[in-house]
């Protein structure tokens, strides 16, 4: 098909470069500089989709961001993207798109039967219809609605495109490059201010691209081009096209989505698809312009009915005729501009003006051109199914209530202008309380809330001269405040046509005996009668009406429908529009790709990965890793065909019989220094710390102020005023903040400093009965005998030339040590331990064996210290000092914490000594009790005891102290398991703790 509706010359497209593309499988051609919409219109394609609810045929209504109909599914470079507006998608070679919301195809859509069932699909239809029977919801109603609704299909494949985030600061951020944006940017830039000018379209200039005006003795378009060219040369200015500022957040933070690659067939190497800009601006100029408002009449959604400004844009920018027989239906002078552009090309439009006797320069021009103008005339209804074929028109009485005799006239498009609605979204998002401006029947920004100012049409100023004057002044004034420069920029002289007053008419009454659908919201299929029903059913607040009818809730967010909806509510309620108020404008102004919001933080990049200095060794030795917070830790070291269970059992057993080594670098480490360090620790921990000698370690438990255990670990006195604290891997950052809180805010007089040294030290735990003989070989010059280095002792040693710290502490319950060296020497230390340890049958062990060892010893860890337990619950009450005060002590007196049947840690063994117990299962007395079966406790950690060779678990059990020996049931409905168990002591191995002291 040739481009039959493309005029021979004119437009801003590049006619040198022809592009081919496919729509619904059919090939077409367009030009570089086209949008998908303009290229389809050039080929005479008006039918692009089906409407959301009634599946009525839909065409193009606008030419840009406000488009409610032309939402397509795009295919590009092997990927697909839904919800693309054809009016915004630039054409590229090989583009493919499809209609959405229709099946089997756009020309014959089965869902269109809804159009004839519309009497059954009124407002609130979902709420009324799908309510019963209740069981039908998941099985029948919801799947049906899901299939019927939606404007496209999201890809289920991994998105190979890249998205970037960028943080930027500027003096002035300017949203929109129409006349006011250009003037503001230029004046501010000349004062040396750092300016960012953002334009959502590919071309700068806004309304200047299509309007017939003169600025500084050149056309508006040439003036805009000149300004942009100059701004681009200035180092203090960033000019961005294809960039939509979609959100205005707190403290002058605005977010902009830049489409970097969407206009190209492929994303260039190293380029992102989109770039999200977080811009902190000192001042913001909102020059987002205005959007033409439709007039509501019968079948006003028929393809071929569109905004008159869109028809003009297709002509002036793309050189496309939206029809050869146009009807212009207007209540103001804007429609005349469009009609004149048609007439200049030899197309004869008819103007229907709702006004009785309008007079202005532009109307005179239209008359002089011989355009057929009918005053006090309206379109009653569009006729035609997939395309406008004719219009029923009639004269209208002065009070706009009575229609005259209905005549039918032939036309192939109806260009509608119901005056202009300022785009106040950004201003409103900033917190600006908008006000209603009577002269233009629309809301405009009121008092500024943040450092923002709205200019030009967005502020309800439609005169170019006034716009330029105020915008130059604003740009100068705001930049002067920041840069203190005052370079006067002269305001150019402007030649424009003066407009006459518009008609406050927005909705054509229904002719007698006719029941045409008159649409308010074109994307969500909300008609006048739907809003009438909502009001009749008692909905009053505009927010409620919106949600009940879904008016303005589609992806276009009611850019073309909001005000007409308000007009209708105010008319029925007999209130003025400002009293009805408008719904809240929320970001984003236009839909934003989830990919752009997520940015680079996907997959492995969603969080940092921390590795210990010994990571490479683990990798080389077949470690299977597990995520421990942001750390990667070896879970087990695989030998041959071993699975997790077999490997961890082998590793744990080897610790109990020989010696094992475990990477404990991930433990949090905090260096504490100062003369008051002992006193500080004494307040932080529940046990006594004042008398800990130098060279000794102590186990400590710290609470939150509410008495709940926060963390545990050992702290070692390195020297008189120097301590080394360890925390659990998970709580390291919280404990540091906790200590800083008390030092900085609660007890600032304590002379203590704390700093994290987690990254500075590499740690290896050496555990097992043969650990001492190994240590002797590693530190031949140190006395590591039971006397020289007793349990909880500390010394420094020389590990083959490397300085090391040796702690005699044990998590496994075996005779054990922890050796720390500076991180850079971590790998050296590890290799030495393994090399020397070979003669003692040393094996590395991972977190799974580590857990096994601590569980059968009854040592608590994160799964017991889960933010819900107090020291007593963990059998740690022996560490709670009765003499001194400490953080959280007073809370331990709470009645629930001192109850006689308080929960407490116990051991759990299955009666059959075989069935392993799932973690998280509940403990109950009677497995057959009716649901909800009273829960006595839960399984916190499970293992296979290598000492007893049967399953063993820890549990937090109500009245655990008196339950030893009881028989209960473990229930796991998730795993469908009921296991009879016996409650035993949590210290399943070496209950007297002799091994650690041996």
């Amino acid at each position: 098909m040739t481009q039959a509706f493309r005029i021979e010359t004119g437009g801003l497209i590049n006619r040198e470069k022809k592009l081919s593309f496919k729509f619904n499988g059919k090939s077409y051609s367009g030009y570089e500089g086209d949008t998908l919409a303009s290229a389809l219109l050039a080929n005479g394609v008006h039918l692009v989709g089906r409407s959301f609810k009634y599946h009525r045929p839909r065409g193009f209504f606008g030419a840009g961001v406000d488009e409610p109909y032309a939402v397509v599914q795009l295919y590009r470079n092997g990927e697909t993207e839904p919800n693309i507006k054809a009016t915004e998608q630039e054409l590229f070679e090989g583009l493919e798109a499809k209609s959405v919301n229709c099946w089997p195809n756009v020309n014959f859509d089965i869902g269109a039967i809804n159009n004839f069932l519309k009497i059954f699909l009124p407002a609130g239809f979902y709420y009324k219809t799908f309510m019963w029977p209740k069981s039908f919801w998941y099985r029948i109603y919801e799947p049906f609605i899901r299939k019927a609704a939606g404007l496209g299909v999201a890809s289920t494949k991994h998105d190979n495109e890249r998205y970037e985030h960028k943080y930027e600061y500027c003096d002035l951020l300017i949203a929109g490059s129409g006349p006011s944006g250009l003037a503001g940017a230029y004046a501010a830039a000349k004062n040396g201010a750092k300016v960012i000018l953002a334009e959502d379209k590919p071309r700068f200039g806004g309304s200047l691209l299509t309007s017939d005006v003169n600025i500084g003795n050149q056309s508006g378009k040439d003036w805009a081009e000149g300004i942009i060219a100059e701004l681009k040369t200035m180092s203090n200015v960033v000019v961005k096209n294809r960039s939509q500022i979609f959100g205005y957040y707190d403290h002058n933070m605005l977010v902009m989505s830049e489409k970097v690659s969407d206009h190209l067939p492929n994303t260039k190497k190293y380029h992102p698809n989109k770039r999200l800009w977080y811009i902190r601006a000192k001042e913001v100029l909102i020059s987002s312009g205005s959007i033409e408002r439709p007039i509501v009449f019968g079948n006003n959604d028929t393809p071929g009915v569109m905004l008159s400004s869109a028809a003009k844009e297709y002509l002036k920018v793309y050189g496309v005729l939206v029809g050869r027989n146009p009807l212009v239906f207007t209540n103001n002078d804007s429609g005349y501009e469009t009609a004149i552009e048609f007439k200049k090309l030899g197309v004869d439009p008819i103007i229907l003006d709702t006004r009785k006797n309008p007079a202005s320069e532009i109307i005179d021009e239209a008359k002089n051109l011989g355009i057929n103008i009918k005053n006090s005339y309206v379109v009653v209804a569009a006729q035609g199914y997939k395309k406008v074929k004719s219009a029923d028109i009639a004269s209208i009485s002065d009070d706009k209530k009575q229609l005259g005799k209905i005549e039918s006239i032939k036309c192939d498009c109806i260009c509608v202008s119901g005056f202009w609605t300022p785009s106040i979204h950004l201003a409103s998002q900033s917190g600006n309380k908008t006000k209603f401006k009577e002269e233009i029947d629309a809301f405009v920004p009121g008092q500024s809330k943040q450092n923002e100012r709205t200019l030009g049409a967005a502020n309800g100023v439609f005169s170019l001269e006034e716009t330029l004057k105020t915008s130059f002044a604003a740009g100068s004034e705001l930049s002067k405040k920041i840069t203190e420069n005052d370079n006067e920029v002269p305001v150019p002289n402007v030649v424009e046509k003066k407009f006459s007053q518009h008609d406050k008419f927005w909705c054509v009454p229904l002719p007698e005996g006719k029941n045409y659908k008159r649409f308010l919201d074109f994307q969500n299929d909300v008609s006048v009668s739907d809003v009438e029903i909502a009001l009749r059913e008692g909905y009053r607040s505009i927010e409620h009406v919106k949600r009940y009818t879904t008016l303005g809730m589609a992806t276009d967010q009611g850019k073309t429908s909001n005000l007409n909806g308000l007009q209708l509510v105010s008319e029925i309620e007999n209130k003025v529009v400002p009293a009805v108020g408008h719904t809240t404008f929320r970001p984003p102004y236009t839909p934003v790709s989830i990919g752009a919001i997520v940015g680079r933080e996907v997959g492995k990049h969603s969080k940092p990965t921390r590795k210990s200095p010994m990571h490479n060794w683990h990798e080389k030795n077949n470690a299977v890793f597990v995520d421990a917070g942001v750390w990667l830790r070896p879970r087990y070291y695989k030998r041959g065909n071993e699975n997790l269970f077999e490997a961890s059992k082998r590793e744990a057993k080897n610790v109990r019989t020989n010696v094992g080594v475990c990477d404990v670098t991930t433990l949090g480490k905090i260096d504490i220094k100062g003369p008051d360090a002992a006193e500080f620790l004494n307040r932080v921990y529940t046990n006594a710390w004042l008398k800990l000698p130098v060279g000794k370690a102590r186990y400590g438990v710290m609470l939150r102020e509410d008495g709940i255990v926060m963390d545990d670990g050992t702290t070692t006195r390195i020297s008189e005023n120097h301590y080394h604290m360890t925390t659990t891997t998970a709580q390291a950052a919280n404990v540091l903040s906790h200590l800083e809180y008390y030092l900085q805010l609660v007890w600032p007089k304590l002379n203590v400093n704390v700093v994290s040294t987690t990254e500075q030290w590499a740690g290896a735990a050496i555990a097992g009965p043969k650990s001492r003989v190994l240590l002797q070989k590693l530190f031949p010059n140190s006395d590591v005998s039971n006397e020289g280095l007793p349990f909880m002792g500390y010394m420094e040693g020389d590990l083959f030339g490397v300085k090391a710290r040796i702690f005699r502490i044990s998590f496994s319950g075996e005779l054990a040590y922890e050796v720390n060296v500076e991180s850079d020497n971590g790998n050296y230390m590890w290799e030495k331990i393994v090399e020397v340890g070979e003669q003692f049958k040393i094996q590395p062990y991972g977190t799974e064996a580590l857990s096994t060892l601590r569980i059968e010893m009854g040592h608590v860890a994160g799964s017991e210290l889960d933010g819900r337990t107090i020291p007593y619950d963990n059998a740690l009450e022996g560490l709670v000092s009765k003499k001194k005060d400490f953080i959280g002590k007073r809370s331990l007196q709470r009645a629930a914490f001192t109850a006689h049947d308080r929960q407490r840690i116990v051991g759990v063994v299955p009666l059959d000594k075989k069935t392993s117990i799932p973690e998280g299962s509940h403990l109950v007395k009677d497995a057959n009790a009716p649901l909800p079966n009273p829960k006595l406790g839960h399984i916190s950690a499970s293992c296979w005891s290598v000492e007893h060779d049967n399953p063993f678990s820890l549990a937090i059990l109500k009245d655990g102290k008196n339950m030893i020996g009881e028989k209960l049931f473990v229930m796991s409905p998730l795993k469908n398991k009921v296991i009879p168990v016996e409650i035993v002591s949590s210290h399943y191995v070496d209950p007297k703790g002799e091994r650690v002291r041996s």
Binding site: S737, E740, Q744, S891
Partner: protein, 89 residues
Amino acid sequence: MLYIKCPHCGMRPQTEFSYGGDASVKRPELNKDVSDQEWDDFVYNRKSLRGKHLELWQHISGCRQWIKVERDTATHEIFRTFKADEEVA
């Protein structure tokens, strides 16, 4: 995203800070007898007011200092910020 003036580092984005709650709460002295009511007020009871609120933030990805921020909880307007040991008049 809030823009918070750290009294030590200057204007910094909210993402560098973590929130620490009501700054007017005073911890009872150590070793002092405290009634249940007094202790509950300290640990649990907060005003959760609408309007001007003095609160704690920690500049966690910066100088790690705890600071006091006077912020309107409804509008997010920040009036003043103080160092941990600065008296708020």
